[in-house]
């Protein structure tokens, strides 16, 4: 195990440069350091101008997603010693515009997230006097996996369809839509379906499956999307044969 390692960090200084460059830093490599520790060491001791996002440093906030040796990772959960003897290449999350250094513009994802209405939609709200919505453990199991998403966008960085077509709504947005569609308390499937059944909704996905591979919370967005394709297709066929609706 090396006790030092080289970090090759992507830099982009918009006020000075018109393209991204790389700066190399030789840092210590204690066995319990993650890539984020390395970046913080650089910022604290070597180059205070390095800009990057992070927060909880324990894999629940989704802020510190970056490309580490070409793979999308949460830098707070990626150990430097796994990359010995190095060098370790750290770049901003793929498929997103770069604002500065390792910071990307998340606006596209945030707009898509809001668009799929990630909240309980009721046709008629239950008054408080009637008490809370009851849900069995089995009903919770139906959507629980998809509620684990921390919006880290590693899946967008891994998805080639999103890379080729930024209009594609993307893995996390669809998985989160499913989290609510499958929630027994929710009545908003029809509203979400309008957005998701567009060509750039679920139908843009070709089941590459990389999103599920890189997800740090095991959400399985690829599975969520394929399941939704089946649901949406069956609904379309039903609507064709019974235009006034069955139930």
């Amino acid at each position: 195990m090396p006790d030092r390692i080289k970090l090759q960090v992507a830099r982009y200084r918009p006020e000075q440069e018109s393209a991204a460059t790389f700066d190399e830093y030789d840092i210590p490599c204690p066995k319990d350091w993650v890539v984020l520790d390395g970046l913080n060491h650089v910022k604290d001791r070597m180059d205070g101008t390095l800009a990057f996002r992070w927060s909880c440093r324990m894999g629940v906030c989704g802020s510190c997603g970056m490309m580490v040796n070409g793979e999308p990772k949460l830098t707070c959960g990626t150990f430097l010693s796994d990359y010995g003897p190095g060098p370790v290449k750290v770049e901003p999350l793929r498929n997103f515009p770069i604002i500065r250094d390792l910071i990307v513009d998340m606006g596209d994802f945030m707009r898509k997230l809001v668009a799929i209405k990630p909240w309980i939609v009721r046709k008629v709200e239950k008054p408080l006097s009637e008490g809370e919505y009851l849900q069995t453990p089995d009903e919770l199991e139906d959507f629980k996996q998809y509620s684990m998403c921390i919006n880290c966008m590693l899946c967008y960085a891994a998805c080639p369809v999103y890379g080729l077509d930024p209009h594609f709504i993307g893995p996390a947005a669809i998985a989160l839509a499913q989290r609510y569609n499958l929630d027994s308390r929710d009545e908003g499937s029809d509203e979400r379906n309008k957005l998701l059944s567009e060509h750039e909704g679920i139908w843009g996905c070709t089941f590459v499956g990389e999103c599920t591979k890189v997800c740090p919370k095991h959400v399985d967005p690829a599975g969520a999307i394929q399941r939704y394709k089946l649901t949406a297709a069956v609904e379309t066929v039903k609507a064709f044969f019974m235009p006034r609706g069955g139930a």
Partner: protein, 116 residues
């Protein structure tokens, strides 16, 4: 755009059904008619036997279903691969692919009708 929105679910269903059917039936058929029989591992079935098998109306119906669904499976997947791998998109390529599948299905129907 509206045409594409409404047709995607149906095309995806055809693609899925075609994927399952082609996965279940085609490998053994290639093994028999593409490898084992040409290489002589199995004697060539007699003409009378082939006529008997192919003449059966159920066989012909299943074969038509197989051809139709497999061709649309190819069309849907190939059109998406042209986009993913080579950046070729647009309605023209899609029309070519699904059109070829439709033509192939008509040919299949015609031939399987005739073999009875």
């Amino acid at each position: 755009m509206a045409v594409r929105q409404h047709s995607e679910p149906y095309l995806w269903l055809l693609f899925s059904a075609g994927g399952v059917l082609s996965a279940m039936l085609l490998p053994v058929m290639v093994l028999l008619f593409g490898i084992a029989i040409p290489l002589g591992w199995i004697p060539v079935p007699t003409y009378e036997h082939m006529l008997g098998v192919l003449g059966n109306p159920i066989t012909r119906l299943v074969l038509f279903g197989l051809c139709f669904l497999s061709l649309f499976h190819w069309a849907h997947r190939f059109r998406h691969t042209l986009h993913d791998a080579l950046g070729i998109k647009g309605g023209f390529m899609a029309a070519l692919c699904y059109g070829a599948a439709a033509v192939g299905s008509v040919v299949a129907a015609y031939l399987l009708w005739q073999v009875g």
